[in-house]
Point group: D2
Chain length 333, copies 4
């Protein structure tokens, strides 16, 4: 492991610590590694130590390069300074990707509490988006974040269609950052069809970090600690994992449907295609099938893809190919 | 294990299967066991086999008695028939608790899909509430449930302050029951301060049951299977677990705050106490403390308990006891 | 689940309880299931309840049919009565395999303590061998078993080349059945090149069964409980697992080398081939390679296969194929 | 984390890398941490990279300080150079314990392959013994180690009564270091009543290190990777863990019986006490109890403690105390 300490902004005391791992070894085709960029919490007043190195260890163990950003806090915290720090950090990592053996399109951001707010903003409104975001007991809503930094934006309201996949975890009994923050962000992701995973554990105080016994003796739901390995498994799904050929392709697409592609397609949702006059035309034969006794569940139209509708109706391969080519001929929007 | 099959309603084809475990053995003080009541899914058209016995096994393994309710479906499903079936089942279990060695106040209901709708209604609007509810990829909203049973109520709208603690899990890419169903129920729980835990896994189709390889070969996020052991750990927290003295007390209270007690108390939230003129009087010294440099985070008032406020201000034991006795003298509502 | 109770020997009070699972369902090609046959412990004096149904649950959960054999104990225990009971049980299961949807060549035996002795004898000296054996804190040596049943044989001495793969677990501080019993059996397996896996946990009393909290409140190494899921993962490796085409082939061969095949082959060990004059001839070119600077580690000759030797020397595909065909021309023994 | 690189022996190219963690934080009473000293493998020819930093990460995550010793290899490897390197390293760590916040009596050594041989020698024959030892697929026997370093001793033969508790893991199909090496060491520990835990996984090649996917794409039994968390749980049992008062006392004694104490005692084994004429006198009443129908299992005498014998006979507290005081009056050896 090679450690580098880089001052990003001397005046605002902003720095990037890099823990870089070698490539090669027994995995002969491993020429680059994915990376996580850690944004510790601390209410934009400090960068909490318990959310720096202790968070780095499990991701290093999982084979990731790790970067820790100590962003602008206290008198330097005025928005958008922290977001600009993030932009500067991710730009540098992508620019030096070759030198550092970083897979430039497999960089996740992970933030806690106020750092979770910053990570959510990185995911939802930055210039230089991360490829995935992990948010731990994040501050999200204007209501909540304004207690700490009045100039900061509501991160849920910032969510747009370009937001990256997100993994959100929190404890239900956090009495410093109400769980409503996480719920608001999740709803925003749901509205924009952004892929997400979430774990809200029944019991535990604020700020548990990885939850290992060397960090705290407080009482909390033991399964809380699973967020760490779960987030790694999720990253492997979203960004791809390690394999004989280096980094493998992701197991699942990062989009939960095909509504944002350039043309309509089999992964578009039923509701979405039906909103398009030409699309409606292609699917006109559905009505006859429904009348023949297999009505589609109306409420599922929002999430059911054309592909799953065709399976539902028991259509053969030929029909599937025909529908696909007709849909792909229709420009999206 | 002793198996009993009980016909609850011959006309509607409703039955209760009981898998009863012996008491005693190496745990000498174990005179009764907690129980789970399983409500399989199937869109109120069938009771799906994959959500009956395969769900029973892990709870039997964890030491629970298990009951499976095959409730009214198809032509018998008109609401409130299924809910009445539930009422009949739980009444019988509680009535025969002594004979069956069931801990009558430690009975959880677990339902999937349409059975998750029924379990949610049991939790939120039944006469004879369960002590905990586990909801797997549940149908919740009127929109969604009406595709299957037009007479059924919206379970999220039914949530009230007597709703039991809930554990909700689903997959984000379920394209039969939109994840919005789970999110709506969680929001309702949050509004009523009901304790909950939730796990929404990134990828997976509808109806995975326990997710073991002998049930399905479909592709889904591997950590999905953790819902089983997580739900058991959660039940142990909510209902108590097995120990040298038989069943232990729960690790955590089932209420996330003390707002529903008979009097105000240290577990009441700041916001709640401040809404009460007498309570506001008791806490009048907070303002002075805040002015001395430790302002309470405004947004946290909804979730911060008086107890945590006193810790926040560094108050000694004497003050804590004084505030407690003053609050306990104030009738709630 | 379908439960059957079959009296095997009325006089000796021997019975077989079957928990049979349905086939089909979402795994369309699942026409048969693997099975485990449980042999509870109890010093050949009783069949302990804590090692019957509680052991069945996790294997049912994993998709296995489960059989529980209550064999001859007390006045009926004189050897070979218990072994005969086993023979009768496994014969019946294999005979009725079609009716019960059992995969007749995927049946594992699992025994505890005295039942572990019986399972070890089934694995090592029965007529009708199981396909795999799981031994929990087993009695093995003559010394130990004779305290309980003077007529019983030493199971380690019975191990032969037809012994099935074994999974052995125990606790180091068992002060009823010394851990030496497990160690002796493992050494015997090692001598005969039988595949095995073993877990000896640092701390715990005798007779913990699955170790779930509803069985005992005694203090032991928490990871003890992993033997259950580890044994299931091991069975899946040895017997094959569930998949889209029903039951899959095993991940690994059950033989750790090819020394027991009909001819010599690439999986034979170096030492073994070198004991055969014709084999030695085939490998005569190894000496030259060694002299050229890559001496083979002498001590590894016992375990190194010809295949790994060829890799070690960096031989090309052509040489590998040539050596293979020459070896396969040599009859074994 | 503070990284230090210390040259121990310039001529032999021996170095110690220290990853030191801060104390304090949310665990207010944490003034020192336990430590692990890593000895990478490489056949005494190199120090393999895959067994240095990648092994450090999980122990750092668990709260341990980590030291990596790059000991004498190749032309510098002649015995006892590597053992002397170990002695120098552990002496330095204990000497600087206060400065580095190391708990000087909670230092574990962990070695792999040839490093496992060195760790075994450290455990069994060094001047300055570690408090626990973890051996991964170790070279042990003279036969095996002499392929790599002819001057090195057989580690199994070195085991004495002062050997520290050991955790040994390996894969059964390792065809570079035969599993017999591990078995021989385990038997030696068993003979000397040394506490141990062992996991031998069914399938996997040599040199898997932690087994994470970023290290190798080879095929092996998936549960192999559990050795890491299991070894940490075991260390917590042997050395004590993190808690509200800093480091807690161990859960279990490191001795599996009391035979090595200064006097006889309740934790001495039956066999051991019976070898002592005065001890035999104290236990003379056992014969009468056995004749009354509860014969002690003869084979268990080697492992059964006096304490468990008294429980077996159902003796009351008074008798227990009497026996204890009589035994403690008898000097050991």
């Amino acid at each position: 492991m090679n450690t580098e300490f880089i001052t990003l902004n001397e005046e605002r005391n902003v720095s990037l610590t890099a823990f870089l791992q070698p490539v090669g070894g027994r995995l002969k085709n491993l020429f680059q590694r994915p990376a996580v960029l850690i944004l510790p919490g601390g209410g934009y007043h400090v960068c909490a130590d318990s959310e720096t190195d202790p968070v780095a260890y499990p991701y290093l163990n999982a084979g990731y390069h790790v970067f820790i950003l100590r962003y602008s806090v206290m008198e330097h915290a005025a928005w958008p300074n922290p977001l600009n720090d993030y932009e500067q950090a991710i730009s540098m990592i992508r620019r030096r990707a070759e030198e550092w053996h970083v897979a430039a399109n497999r960089i996740a951001v992970i933030g806690f509490s106020a750092g979770g707010h910053l990570a959510a903003c990185a995911a939802a409104m930055s210039e230089n988006r991360p490829d995935a975001a992990i948010l731990g007991y994040p501050l999200i809503t204007a209501d909540s974040i304004h207690d700490y930094l009045p100039s900061a934006p509501d991160a849920a309201e910032a969510v747009d269609e370009k937001t990256c996949p997100c993994f959100i975890f929190a404890t239900r009994t956090d009495n410093q950052v109400p769980v409503e923050n996480s719920l608001r962000f999740i709803s925003a992701l749901e509205r924009f069809d952004i892929a997400f995973e979430t774990h809200i554990y029944a019991n535990g105080p604020h700020g548990l970090s990885t939850g290992v016994p060397s960090l705290t003796a407080e009482k909390f739901s033991g399964r809380y600690c699973s967020w760490v390995s779960d987030s790694i498994a999720w990253l492997n799904e979203v960004l791809g994992s390690f394999g004989p050929d280096g980094l493998s392709e992701p197991d699942f697409g990062i989009r939960i449907n095909g509504n944002y592609e350039e043309t309509l397609n089999l992964a578009s949702t039923l509701q979405y295609v039906m909103q398009n006059p030409q699309g409606r035309e292609v699917l006109s034969f559905f009505r006859r099938l429904e009348e023949n006794g297999r009505p589609l569940p109306a409420a599922a139209a929002k999430v059911m893809t054309i592909s799953s509708c065709l399976t539902y109706f028991g259509m053969g391969e030929e029909t599937v190919r025909k529908v696909e080519s007709e849909l792909k001929a229709i420009k999206n929007r």
